[in-house]
Symmetry: C2
Subunit: 138 residues, 2 copies
Amino acid sequence: MVLSIGDLSRRTGVKVPTIRYYESIGLLPEPARSEGGQRRYGEAHLARLGFVRHARDLGFDIEAIRSLLAMASDPRRACGEAHAITRAHLADVERRIARLGALRDELRGMLACDNGTVAQCRIIEVLADHQHCLHERH
Amino acid sequence: MVLSIGDLSRRTGVKVPTIRYYESIGLLPEPARSEGGQRRYGEAHLARLGFVRHARDLGFDIEAIRSLLAMASDPRRACGEAHAITRAHLADVERRIARLGALRDELRGMLACDNGTVAQCRIIEVLADHQHCLHERH
DNA sequence: GCTACTTCCTCTAGCCGCTAGAGGTTCAAG
DNA sequence: CTTGAACCTCTAGCGGCTAGAGGAAGTAGC
């Protein structure tokens, strides 16, 4: 199987410039080239880019993905480190959810006024004065 | 009341370079200067920067804040636009919460294996093959 | 083999919202 | 009057891409 960069892009859902970007930062190995210098990919690239895409979708940052890739390539290695990375990421996601939930409540409260003038508008009022907030700390 | 940029920073919790950045993008008006050229702020700046800080904490982007500031400065203006901005932002926050919730479930599922070797590790497995996911679409 | 058209190439610059650092000046306390 | 903190401007960098210029290569139909 030989794929152009466009083929690889369509198969993985990763945009062409993003694939080249991943190569430039060393996340993907340099592929073979055609006589004319165009990139030619195989199964290994497809799998690796799929892995990367998937991890990005799950919100892992590039450095975490680098580590996960290193682990995936060594099937005998204990996956404790993968657990640590994933747990850390999960904790981060949970923090973000909590924060966004508080934010949502705050925004809903701000919307609980009719469309009067700014003078009575809770939105402007809340923004102008922290005292009106539901929570002390955002 | 006369405040240096450091005073303003301490009072609002906005870092000094960020205050200068806000000025550079026109979010804060240019303040008066001391004889030696240092910035000198008053109550109006304090209130405006507080508003900006608060809106940023609530996750509004700079352009939204620009609009909200324009509305706040005109107390007779109807606040329909402020509602529209806030509703749009709320919808965005809700989408992010839903997405992060799905992500959290996915990550929790991935952690449901013991620390064996990579060969049996669900984390690596899930990342390598989308079929293992809880959801079709992330 | 030629034309036309798409896809590919490299390179540079830009996005957001800051943050960091260099190299120099001003201010305020003692 | 000296010290040392805080200030100044300017440029560059962060993450993770995205956009555009200007040109070369690949491919399908005639």
